[in-house]
Symmetry: C2
Subunit: 248 residues, 2 copies
């Protein structure tokens, strides 16, 4: 069963894959919050997030996932594993995925010396490991970021700590090309999905470029579904939405 | 770049992959809560969760992910896409992944008739779509579950609505074989990771069957790292932990 690894048809719109790296996510000890932040960030910029993967701090797993995702999507984002400890192996794995060496990046060295001096801590070997970037990579640059994230090819390598990840994401904004933003409209309908299914499918058939999702809820003795319409054509979206609203 | 698709060496312990299905997760509109629940469930049963993927409601994406994961791990769990509306395509995709037909499962038909009768709703065609199970599949069975989830081969197909997913997960407990539970110990150290890196790496080298993770925190002017040790050998874990505690 060879994995389907062809570039995803992106209908002229940029798309993305996301790779979350960390044993602590897979053990259930830590709940990831970066995925929804990145999902919203990309949606706002018209970049379709098509796939997310979570893998452990294992080099071969990271290499395999990065290579699968970077072949398939316009952009790949990774979070986690770029700190100073032995379990931080993301930068090395990315170098391996790209088949390049890894070395200290002069700008990252400068950035870290400044940080360690300000914090009054020693720029020891472990801390300076954070300055290592795969050859050909460039820093994710911003005045607000004090530790190095980097990008190489179409892969953006960011921190796992949400506060730092969010600053990096903000800086990435200028480095990627967005697309036509997906517009969305939603309505809450207090009817069972089983009663909505046929008319919704008919509306979906009529508007192939509008994606209609039905998300059921059950709360306080009340049940129904939130119907979410998404699309890039405003007119079609409005016309489809009018038909869905008539189901309320 | 062919994807690495070999069975993951599980060191005689069962392992698992998880597939979350749904456009609404990828758009950032809905935040998944099933992943951490399933991660904790598996950890408690000694099953290593090795990989998670999130894909959209797209048949070829679901088929590719299911086939990649089921070849690699002892168990695969999926959530989402088993309701009655047009965007619920998981059961069909699983049938396609296994190369089998899909048909109404007699036990599922019975289950749904009972539910619809109790709720006073019509057992219409859309609702009865939920009774369709890939040929060879069996229901995830429990008195508490009122809608059909199923398993086929090593793949367990569950609902996306967390309340229902949790009931299905409980029922799955008797259907899977657990392993030696991973023991863990953790300690909070208020020192920078850069100062802990060298001694932690030395301890890690000494105890290859203990996995030592370092998770930094910054809060209220205080910083440090939570060091988490995980392993299946109690003695080694205790010995490694003693050395880590000495770093406090």
């Amino acid at each position: 069963m060879p994995e389907q690894n062809l570039p995803k048809n992106n209908k002229n719109n940029p798309n993305a894959g996301l790779l979350l790296i960390g044993d602590e996510l897979l053990s259930g000890r830590t709940q990831d919050v970066n995925f929804p932040s990145i999902a919203r960030f990309l949606t706002e910029r018209g970049v379709d997030l098509c796939e997310v993967r979570v893998v452990s701090d294992d080099e071969s797993d990271i290499v395999a996932a990065v290579n699968a995702l970077r072949a398939r999507y316009t952009y790949v984002f990774t979070t986690g594993g770029i700190g100073p400890t032995h379990d931080d192996i993301t930068a090395d794995a990315i170098a391996k995925a790209f088949g390049v060496e890894i070395e200290q990046h002069p700008q990252a060295v400068k950035m870290l010396h400044k940080l360690f001096e300000a914090n009054g801590v020693e720029a020891n070997e472990a801390r300076m490991r954070m300055a290592r970037v795969p050859v050909g990579g460039e820093l994710i640059d911003s005045d607000k970021i004090k530790v190095p994230g980097f990008h190489i090819g179409n892969v953006f390598v960011m921190a796992g700590v949400p506060k730092i990840m969010n600053l990096m994401l903000e800086a990435v904004s200028d480095m990627i090309e967005g697309g036509a933003v997906v517009l969305s409209k939603s309505v809450r309908i207090e009817k069972g999905e089983g009663d909505l299914a046929v008319p919704l499918a008919q509306i979906q058939d009529q508007f192939p470029n509008v994606s209609i999702g039905s998300y059921p809820f059950h709360e306080k003795g009340c049940y129904g579904a939130n119907i979410v319409l998404r699309g890039r054509n405003e007119d079609d979206l409005a016309r489809a939405f009018k038909q869905v609203e008539a189901l309320v």
